[in-house]
């Protein structure tokens, strides 16, 4: 039974839903397929059948979809099972790879096309700013993998481990991502063609929103699951 509570608009996702309907109705979820390396074609199978085929938890898969679709979605406390923890960590790791291996280079490609219309001083300044941003994100991901995910990997041996970093706000990431958008909107020269500028903005906002969902996943899924897992170990 689907125990998910929906806040805001209703998202009628269920294990019986056909995968095609899911993708067709919510194409923005394709990035999840990419992260989970779900192989196509999948014919006429349902979410539940896909999850059985891939050895995934269907309830967790639906939660991930809902969290990506609705920023105000909150998984119900009693729908979280501590067995989901390792899968959530695997998903977050896959997301890190997705950002560093796909999304950030993709935005960089757009940036290079935009920079062709800027003078050399602006090119240097913007390129250097973006490179710093990528390094900043990479360092953040590495720190999470080292201090949080690696600790979760061996949580059975260290039930009292601290996960203080999970409490750390991600405001810096959001600010820096917004800064790129502000520079593109307000300061790039007029001669940058509007379609190029808009396409770059599309990707920056997509990245920003995805990073926000990523942070929500850590706060609303990972954190309570860690607490549940630690509690289960102490029993």
């Amino acid at each position: 039974m689907n125990k998910i509570i929906h806040l805001g608009r209703l998202l009628p996702l269920s294990p019986e839903m056909k995968l095609f309907e899911l993708v067709d109705g919510y194409p923005q979820l394709l990035s999840i397929f990419s992260r989970l390396e779900i192989s196509f074609p999948f014919g006429d199978i349902s979410i539940e059948e896909l999850c059985q085929r891939e050895g995934r938890d269907a309830e967790l898969f639906i939660m991930l979809c809902n969290m990506h679709l609705a920023p105000d979605y909150r998984p119900a406390e009693d729908s979280l099972r501590h067995e989901m923890l390792k899968d959530v960590v695997a998903y977050l790791r896959a997301s890190h790879r997705y950002y560093t291996g796909y999304m950030l280079p993709h935005v960089a490609n757009h940036l290079e096309r935009v920079l062709e219309h800027c003078d050399s001083v602006s090119q240097r300044a913007l390129r250097s700013f973006y490179d710093d941003y990528v390094r900043f994100l990479a360092a953040h991901f590495e720190e999470e993998e080292r201090n949080i995910f690696a600790t979760i990997d061996s949580i059975e041996e260290q039930a009292d481990a601290s996960f203080a970093m999970l409490e750390a706000p991600h405001g810096d990431i959001d600010d820096r991502t917004n800064d790129i958008a502000s520079l593109v909107i307000k300061s790039l020269p007029e001669r940058v063609p509007t379609p190029l500028r808009c396409s770059m903005l599309d990707h920056i906002y997509m990245l920003r929103d995805d990073l926000r969902r990523h942070s929500d996943l850590e706060m609303l899924l990972l954190r309570p699951l860690v607490a549940k897992y630690k509690k289960s170990l102490k029993r």
Binding site: S122, A125, F129, R176, D179, L183
Partner: protein, 184 residues
């Protein structure tokens, strides 16, 4: 001890003198202007004070970078009150008055932004120094203004540019030719 420069712009001499008398009990406040009209204030003003206590009739007037506090002498509508960061009542005690000013100065105006998204000359000066890596204190010393005023300028810069990080502001300064990248 940091002293905040206060301007009082209030048509009623009784109210204005009362406010000055009450604030003079606190060493942290220095009354630099006490005038009966906004035009008088504008003609006398050589530099922005930290805070302006302003009659509600001037609610929609711009007082530059100073924290804008309304002097409520009568019932006012919410649109008028929204123009101020805080309001003081003619029934406020001296302690209440000092507390309201202190709280307003601790959290410089978020709602007191000018409608213009163009940076003022002073904001550009601050932005250039931020881009060069100066701290708030160093900028205050360089420009002969208070750190509070620098903070207020920085908030306005962030509001107008939409950019929060120092690195982003530096790029903004370069792209807008406010600074030569060689200077960085």
């Amino acid at each position: 001890m940091k002293r905040f420069r206060v301007a009082i712009v209030e048509p009623s001499a009784i109210v204005a003198e009362g406010l000055e008398s009450m604030l003079s009990r606190y060493a942290e406040y220095e009354i630099v202007y006490n005038v009966r009209s906004l035009s008088e204030y504008q003609s006398q003003r050589a530099s922005d004070p930290d805070v302006v206590l302003l009659a509600l009739q001037y609610a929609h007037e711009d007082v530059g970078q100073a924290t804008k506090i309304g002097i409520q002498t009568a019932i006012a509508d919410s649109d008028t009150l929204r123009q101020f960061q805080a309001t003081v009542s003619i029934y406020s005690s001296a302690d209440e008055l000092a507390k309201i000013l202190r709280e307003a100065l601790d959290s410089p105006a978020d709602t007191n932004f000018s409608d213009s998204h163009e940076l003022s000359e002073r904001e550009r000066d601050v932005l250039v120094l931020v881009a060069k890596g100066y701290t708030t204190k160093e900028i205050a010393t360089e420009l002969f203004i208070s750190p509070h005023t620098v903070i207020s300028h920085r908030k306005n810069i962030v509001h107008k540019t939409g950019i929060r990080s120092v690195a982003g502001l530096t790029v903004y300064a370069v792209l807008n030719k406010l600074i030569d990248s060689e200077q960085l």
